[in-house]
Amino acid sequence: MRPRLLAALRPGNAGVVYALILIVGALTVLSARLGRPSYLSETNIVNILDQSSLVAILAVFTTVVLISGNFDLSVASVAAFSAATALSLVGSLGLPAAMAIALGAGLVCGVVNGVIVQLVGINAFIVTLGTMTAVRGLVLIVTDGRTVTAKDPEAQQSLIALQAGYWTVPHILAVVGGILLVIGAILALRKSRRGLVLAGAGVVLAALSPLVGWDLRLSKPTYYLIVIAAVTWAVLRYTVIGRRLYAVGSNAEAARLSGINVNRYKIGAFVLNGLGSAFVGVLFAAKLLAINPTGLQGTELTVLAAAILGGTSLFGGLGSVLKSVVGALILFTLDNGFNVLNLGANYQGVIVGTVVIVAAAIYTIAGRQRQVKRVRESQAKAGEPAPEREPQEALR
């Protein structure tokens, strides 16, 4: 068996993480130089996580669609539609019903995307560009061109409770230690050497906890992100659903010949994405307590950028939701950095653009050190540069 942990830490694999570390490092040094409060302050870290969380959740689900070999441009419109729906209905129906309808709307959008792409067989780009436009049109109809707010104070409170505020996990080291211990124990029961290592690490952490005594205080959306990303990651990583999803995206024909219901997985990914977008839409509604007809416009590109920065392939079969989350963190860390450093608005675009390319370049080149030959039919097809210098797989 490969030393997985080490492999996962190689720049070619974890490039996006190193890129994030580099960016954070640079910002820390710069803000110290400029005499600003520490960039790595708890407040600022909590802020960055909070600010990225909704886009990062979208990136998680979009990654699932990309892994399945499809593409979805409609996420931001669907989220806005769900937000508008939730805000329009929460006053009269109450939060649970409004939220259910909003999620249902997202689900329907996902089904429409999936069915048209898979069963009619039209290119996902054009279909989801169409639904992006059409659903945005629905938002306009629902809002009649105006900002929709939740007027009812009770409704407002219920929305706020969904999203605002922080949860504190006391003795985080102890908690993490405990979780590691449990996982380790399970693994050990399944006769894995790593299990013991994990359990050991858990014990050490738990033992350190009273000495260090850190509490973890994060915003609610950050916890939602953590749970969603962790569950999705685990499903993709450890269940047969995950294997099949990757297989379907990697080579639909091979998957079909192995008896996998390709349409089910591909449509399923769209449906999940619709549902996820709707959930994020509700969180946005709860965060802003208002949505205007152009709300979230353009977010689809940010979400795709996060996923692709995270190394997800546009051609299917490759991608990691955790790295997509890191991709989102990179983008929001940059925004946050500009705010903290007070960089002029006119200059931000040039820097964001450059950093995105450089970040991608860093780990493409790092990945190339691996120098493993990857001549794939699919890749030759996908229009890569000369194959002997295949870029790192993660970036295609």
């Binding site: 900002t147 205007n292 931000q348």
Partner: protein, 309 residues
């Protein structure tokens, strides 16, 4: 050739029925949408037929829209420019076609060289709120909220919008006139939207915990910023501009200390009236500057501003 040349038929009672084209900068944006609503309501009252086109915030689409409007030969045009510079060429084309045109909500001609009140020749009128003056009003509120001045941060609109410059220009002068001197410690874009402004304020506060006041260039952004201030436990004040529903509510609740009251529906009505009177000959105008009052609003006089968007 195009048709519709006699769109102005004799209606009942011998009253001519006018067709007026409206090139709106973007009907998905609440502010211009509200102007559009003002125009339509007034048109219904006057019995004027409206052809309303949506430029979707794109200057190039507005150029196409004007072309399509001209093909329909309306009696007059209300143009809500996406961009002042681009609008100049459009105004020239309308003028060449002999279509009386009123610019609404935004100047025609390069604002760097043309003062607001120097209305572009060939227009019947420019009907707008005075964005510069509104910035000044905001400065007055700031001086009132933070007497003597202090450290402030500006939450700007999206880079590239004329309002970003216009709504700042008079701010310091007006504040100074009221005895307040502000030190701008941070100036970051909130892109006109609430959540980006919320993040920006959060981050600016993290870097500059001593910020005493945020000047957000729109009400959506002031509301987002107020949330950031609250959750950071800061004592900074927030003021906005625009008089939107969200903004006025926030002023009422005290989350936002003040705003400037824009009245887009009134503006639309005013614009249509101006053009209508010109067409009927009731009041012919040439390059007239028409505006309405945009009063500063604080908790004390919040009742004076009925939000229209």
């Amino acid at each position: 050739g195009g048709s519709g040349g006699d769109s102005a038929q004799a209606g009942d009672g011998g009253k001519k029925e006018y067709t007026i084209g409206v090139s709106n900068l973007g009907l998905s944006f609440p502010f211009p949408a509200a102007i559009g609503k003002g125009i339509k309501d007034e048109a219904a009252r006057l019995g004027v037929k409206i052809v309303e086109l949506d430029a979707q915030g794109k200057a190039d689409k507005q150029s196409n829209d004007i072309q399509d409007l001209m093909a329909q030969q309306p009696d007059g045009v209300l143009m809500l420019p996406v961009d002042s510079g681009v609008a100049q060429g459009l105004a020239d084309r309308l003028k060449a076609a002999g279509i009386p045109t009123v610019a609404v909500a935004s100047q025609v001609g390069d604002p760097k060289t043309r003062p607001l009140k120097d209305v572009y020749p060939g227009l019947v009128a420019l009907v707008t709120q005075d964005e510069y003056a509104a910035g000044g009003k905001a400065g007055e509120i700031a001086a009132q909220v933070l007497p003597g001045g202090g450290k402030i941060a500006v939450v700007e609109g999206a880079a590239g919008f004329a309002e970003v410059v216009n709504r700042w220009q008079e701010f310091p002068k007006a504040a100074e006139a009221k005895g307040a001197t502000f030190e701008v410690v941070a100036r970051q874009p909130g892109d006109w939207v609430q959540d980006k402004a919320q993040s920006a304020c959060q981050n600016m506060l993290a870097a500059n915990p001593d910020i005493q006041l945020f000047y957000a260039q729109s009400d959506d952004m002031s509301v987002g910023c107020a949330k950031a201030v609250k959750s950071a436990g800061s004592k900074a004040k927030v003021i906005g501009i625009g008089g939107s529903k969200l903004g006025i509510d926030a002023v009422k609740s005290g989350d936002v200390s003040g705003t400037v009251c824009f009245k887009p529906e009134d503006l639309g009505k005013l614009a249509l009236d101006t053009l209508y009177k010109h067409l009927t000959g009731e009041k012919k105008q040439n390059a007239a500057f028409v505006t309405y009052d945009t009063p500063p609003i604080t908790k004390d006089n919040v009742a004076d501003c009925t939000p229209q968007w």
